[in-house]
């Protein structure tokens, strides 16, 4: 694979980066009217990126491999996120004052342009993560995903909580980055390579020589997995999630719930792809097993204790990471049907993203006492004042709960089916019991909306984009539940190939033989 091909693969990212740069430039303009364009620029660059991806997909004759799938998902969900985020900068008091002419213009304080730039940067990072075929690349892509989000969290909201979120997110993120970096170093140390395919070759040699991979390589992968677990908020790297989700403005929270998680799972899939086919050291199986069980349990039990909807959704986000970790265990599956954990995760990411963004968008569409709605009180009796939003919220939580016929249900079939196919029945039982626990807090949200009495202080925020985004996400979650066949087969195609070795993609090969390796 030569440089030209490599660059050809990243045209969508280049489009996004250009868009980001343009946003930064336009954002410097003194005129409010001009600065308003930044959002549209972001949208346009996303559309362009999407068009490029679509063209690539058409050329390749379908979504082959995880990269185009992730890119398409990022573009699609990114557009919805953009709709949710469109109103964010306006919320900053300072920005409002400056725009109203009460404060003198100071570029550093008016973050409309930067916000969208960061937004695009982060999405670029996710796409690049999917492109990664080298540890260095992977590292850079992950950092590109994360760094902008630190800023977005800290500055998106004019409240002390946002800054608290920022500091926690940033510092812990840096620490986690160091952890996975250390893991990368060990992987490099064990194989002498950073390119994925070369690492796999080295690992295969180790297997050929010793019957197993070297402990150093195992340790490296384990450390990397642990570090990347921060991105998906998996135990034990989950501590930040609730605080950060709560402190950030709702639009950013929605962003956090999808974007870094996607990057994290792509990275995890890539890292596990470093293992030779069909070989998983027990250490890694155990690690994933324990992490999955702990993550979903901790997420769900903590979700029970909350009075803040955003925190509830944060813990739900942790729990869903736990479910998806179950899919990681089934990663080395055959390409067929349910057995493929990669495909299951890819599908679930979209399912989860739609549902959770729908829920956050509903929250973002409301404000109570001048602040964003975020407590149960704020959404109490929502059905009386905003029946449509209440309905959207209901659909979203039902999908999160995995109740048929929402898309979340299909996602669960896929994930748990793949795990069962790989013999992880015990884990699936834990997972379904966890789903039952999660019903408690999802129902709390639903019952607050439908059974509570409205105190009347909750009003909707100006603008149509957020309710629209919420509606689109929820309806998509519903429709894809009924008509999810296409998405499932796309995910299956996408996940049906060994990951992280993009060169394989260009030489269409048979999927690895079905291995129903059960423990």
């Amino acid at each position: 694979m030569n440089m030209a091909e490599k660059i050809a693969g990243v045209w969508p990212e280049i489009a996004l980066l250009l868009g980001a740069a343009l946003c930064l430039l336009v954002g410097l303009a003194r005129s409010v009217a001009i600065r308003r364009f930044t959002g549209w620029i972001a949208a346009a660059s996303l559309l362009v990126a999407g068009w490029i991806v679509a063209a690539q997909v058409c050329n390749a004759g379908g979504v082959i491999g995880l990269t185009p799938y992730i890119k398409l998902a990022v573009v699609a969900v990114g557009l919805i996120l953009l709709m949710v985020a469109a109103a964010v900068p306006v919320q900053l008091k300072m920005t409002r004052d400056i725009e109203a002419g009460r404060e003198p213009f100071e570029p550093g304080l008016v973050i409309r342009g930067e916000f969208f730039a960061f937004f695009l940067f982060s999405l670029t990072g996710v796409m690049l993560t999917a492109d990664a075929s080298d540890l260095v690349w992977l590292f850079l892509a992950l950092e590109l995903t994360s760094l902008p989000t630190y800023v977005m969290v800290a500055t998106s909201r004019d409240r002390v909580e946002a800054q608290e979120s920022g500091v926690k997110y940033f510092f812990l993120g840096a620490m986690a980055a160091a952890v996975f970096l250390y893991g990368f170093a060990l992987i490099y140390g064990a194989t002498g390579q950073t390119s994925f395919s070369l690492i796999v070759d080295a690992a295969n040699q180790q297997i050929a020589a010793q019957g197993r991979i070297s402990p150093l390589l195992t340790t490296g992968i384990v450390l990397s997995l642990l570090g990347v677990a921060f991105k998906i908020a998996a135990v034990p790297m989950h501590f930040y999630a609730a605080d950060v989700y709560q402190g950030a403005t709702t639009a950013v929270t929605a962003f956090l719930a999808f974007v870094p998680k996607t990057a994290g799972f792509v990275a995890l899939i890539a890292l596990l792809g470093l293992l030779p086919d069909g070989y998983v050291p027990p250490a890694i199986t155990w690690l994933l097993w324990i992490m999955a069980a702990l993550t979903m349990t901790v997420g769900n039990v903590l979700g029970l204790m909350q009075s803040n909807v955003k925190r509830v959704l944060a813990y739900s986000s942790i729990a869903h990471s736990g479910y998806m970790l179950v899919g990681l265990l089934a990663l080395h599956g055959s390409g067929d049907a349910l057995g493929n954990g990669t495909a299951a995760i890819l599908f679930y990411l979209v399912a989860y993203g739609l549902a959770t963004i729908g829920a956050f968008a509903v929250l973002g569409s409301l404000q109570a006492r001048g602040e964003e709605a975020e407590t149960f009180d704020d959404i109490s009796g929502l059905v009386r004042t905003h029946p449509v939003l209440a309905g959207v919220m209901l659909l979203s939580v039902l999908s999160l709960l995995g109740l048929p016929p929402m898309i979340g249900f299909l996602g669960k079939i896929y994930l748990f089916g793949s795990a069962i196919q790989h013999g992880f029945v015990g884990l699936v039982v834990i997972a379904v019991l966890n789903s039952a626990v999660s019903a408690v807090y999802y129902l709390r949200i639903a019952s607050a909306c439908f059974f509570g009495d409205s105190e009347g202080h909750t009003v909707s925020t100006p603008g149509i984009s957020r309710p629209l985004a919420a509606g689109i996400a929820a309806v998509a979650a519903l429709i894809l539940g009924f008509a999810g066949g296409r998405l499932v087969s796309t995910a299956r195609d996408a996940g049906g190939f060994p990951t992280g070795r993009n060169d394989v993609v260009t030489t269409p090969s048979q999927p690895p033989a079905a291995t129903t390796a059960s423990r």
Partner: protein, 671 residues
């Protein structure tokens, strides 16, 4: 003769029930209920009568329509008709017609007039189904159906708590027996593969070596019979059942329904003989019940209760007879008993009617001048019940006693039956005594009486507001208004059925026995006793015994009557003195051996306590366990929450330690 008409016998009353039910809705239609009901029952009688000679030997099956058919199991509405059925139909429809006739007057002015006849029609429907059933399940339908009607009619005065309680008790106690019956049906089905009476009987007759299961069948079925026919220990409901209107007591609780148990055993005799112990058990229970109930009847003061216990006692006789393999005697007694007991109840009803519901023996005396017809009608009934020579009761009771003694003294004399025979004679004495105690108390002696508070004959309207009904004063009914003034004789039309019954009570026994009708009927039905030789030998030898028994029981009966006359007519203070002297026995008997109290303490209260305990368990243990399971995640949440301190370093520590622990765990433990 075409048997097709037979199947309408139950369904005409069913139609009548529907029509009467419709009559309930409009006040103007109410008076139509009685004629409809009487007509439907009477036409049943006529149909049965038309077929009196047309029944083929061995019976015939008249299919009507399908009922329950699944997986090889089949139970349909199809009717089996043989002489035994005919006897029962005569009793049910005949007595039914007369009682309904009587009730048409007796119940006049009652708010629930139409309702009453609805239930009566329904009862006849169920009862005819019972006696005509071709299969056990249909028999069970009739069985439970009559129980239901009994329930509805006992609770007829539904505003009266005691009536409601009595109704409930009747239904539930019957259910206990019914469970045995149902299990018996199951066992029959499992053993013989059919619930058809005829097929089961044929199968039973071909059983050469009865298995345990087969010998169990009669005991289960027996349980049902004991419940329905108020035998020990399931008799408790019948005395309370007297809360119902008196015609109901006459029809259901004396003449027809309660004899269903006897009918069933007679009908299924071939199955009962499969177990060597089944019939002796029936006989023992019958004999004991007879004497047990008779002793209680001695010391009761409520007229209807006395008759109720007497009914139990007489039913005991029937069981004794059937148990002694004298189905003829059992059915014969059933037949005669229907006449005189219905007569007794109806005359008691007349007395009540006259005295505004007064039922207490101690509060009435010397009514013979006020109510001469009733007085002598009841006298006839009493004679028959007491087994006075040549009355109906005399012949049938004698046949039973003779059969029992025959088994006791015959060739293979069994001491058990000898004892039962003596017990039977003793009961006969008691019967004569308490029967005439009642009659002498009510009709002889100085004329004095107190009026009752009247809940019989007219419904207490209680809270009738908002119903557009008669206001309270009128509700007490026209008849009642004049009753408050004085006791009086009943109108002739009302006494007409009583006269018919009285005629039966006197003549039915002689006729049925001496024309050989009853014997030929029973012997050509499934109740026929096969075992020719011993029957023959008994007949030879028993002729003398029979005569002897006639003499003995006549003497006993007359002795009883005389004693009653002395104590309760000629020298009432002597009776009081005797009662004082044996106070503890009298109290015991008056309180019916405290059986209700014992049942209450031994069964009802513990069960109810169990209910309370279970309910507590349900809430405090099972539900609490569920809640506890539900609390597990919450407890975990509380634990996990302690780690979410909000402090940056704390999180860092958590992450570092967590990662380190996991790393070490998987690297060193898992590998």
């Amino acid at each position: 003769m075409n048997l097709d008409l037979i199947k309408f016998i139950p369904w005409l009353p069913a139609l009548a029930a529907v029509l009467c039910g419709l009559c309930c809705t409009k006040k103007a239609l109410r008076c139509l209920a009685a004629p409809i009901c009487i007509l439907s029952i009477a036409s049943g009688f006529v149909i049965a009568f038309l077929h009196r000679g047309g029944v083929p030997p061995g019976g015939a099956v008249v299919p009507f329509f399908e009922w329950i058919n699944i997986g090889g199991f089949s139970a349909n509405f199809s009717y089996f008709i043989d002489p035994l059925t005919l006897i029962m139909l005569f009793v049910v429809c005949g007595i039914g017609t007369l009682v309904a006739w009587y009730a048409a007057f007796y119940m006049k002015g009652d708010k629930g007039y139409a309702r009453f006849f609805t239930f009566v029609s329904l009862f006849i429907f169920a009862m005819t189904n019972l006696v005509m059933a071709d299969n056990l399940v249909l028999l069970y339908l009739g069985w439970e159906g009559v129980g239901l009607c009994s329930y509805l009619l006992i609770g007829y005065y539904y505003n009266k708590p005691s009536a409601v309680a009595a109704a409930k008790k009747a239904f539930i106690v019957n259910r206990i027996g019914d469970l045995g019956f149902a299990l018996g049906i199951f066992l029959v089905y499992q053993t013989f593969g059919t619930v058809s009476l005829r097929e089961a009987i044929i199968a039973a007759e071909h059983v050469s070596e009865p298995s345990t299961a087969v010998t169990l069948i009669p005991f289960l079925l027996m349980l049902g019979a004991f419940g329905k026919s108020a035998q020990l220990p399931l008799y408790v409901w019948l005395p309370d059942a007297m809360e119902g209107p008196t015609p109901v007591s006459a029809l259901i609780h004396a003449a027809t329904m309660v004899t269903a148990g006897v009918y069933m055993i007679a009908r299924l005799l071939p199955i009962f003989v499969l177990s060597p112990y089944a019939l002796p058990v029936v006989a023992v229970v019958g004999g004991l019940t007879a004497v047990f109930a008779a002793t209680i009847a001695l010391c009761q003061y409520d007229i209807k209760r006395i008759y109720a216990y007497s009914t139990i006692s007489q039913l005991g006789y029937m069981f004794l007879g059937v148990g002694a393999l004298s189905t003829v005697g059992g059915v014969f007694h059933l037949f005669t008993h229907a006449f005189f007991k219905a007569l007794l109840f109806l005359t008691a009803g007349s007395v009540m009617h006259a005295l505004a519901g007064q039922l207490d023996l101690r509060k009435m005396s010397g009514l013979r001048t006020k109510m001469p017809v009733t007085c002598w009608l009841m006298f006839v009934g009493c004679l028959a019940l007491a087994g006075f020579p040549l009355t109906a009761g005399f012949f049938s009771k004698d046949m039973i006693l003779a059969a029992v003694m025959e088994k006791g003294l015959g060739e293979h004399g069994q001491p058990l039956f000898l004892a039962l025979g003596i017990l039977g004679l003793f009961t006969a004495f008691l019967t004569a005594f308490y029967t005439f105690r009642l009659w002498f108390r009510v009709f002889m002696g100085p004329e004095q009486y107190e009026m009752g508070e009247e809940h019989h004959g007219a419904e207490e309207h209680g809270h009738d507001h908002g119903h557009g009904e008669d206001a309270k004063p009128q509700a007490a009914s026209d008849i009642k208004v004049e009753h408050h003034h004085d006791a009086h004789e009943m109108p002739l039309l009302m006494n007409l059925p009583l006269i018919v019954l009285a005629a039966g009570a006197i003549a039915a026994g002689y006729w049925a026995e001496h024309s050989g009708w009853i014997e030929s009927m029973v012997e050509s039905s499934t109740a026929a006793v096969h075992g020719g030789e011993s029957a023959h030998a008994a007949e030879l030898f028993g002729y003398h015994l029979h005569t002897a028994m006639m003499v003995i029981s006549s003497a006993i009966s007359i002795l009883g009557i005389a004693l009653a006359a002395y104590f309760h007519w000629l020298n009432r203070p002597a009776a009081d003195a005797a009662a004082r002297q044996y106070k503890s026995i009298v109290t015991l008997l008056n309180n019916k051996y405290y059986v209700d109290e014992i049942n209450d303490a031994a069964i009802v209260t513990p069960l109810r306590t169990k209910g309370e305990i279970f309910f507590a368990i349900d809430r405090l243990i099972i539900d609490a366990l569920v809640t506890l399971v539900g609390l597990v995640p919450r407890a975990l949440g509380i634990g996990a929450r302690r780690l979410q301190t909000g402090a940056l370093q704390g999180y860092g520590l958590g992450m570092a330690c967590g990662a380190a622990v996991l790393l070490l765990l998987v690297l060193f433990v898992a590998n």
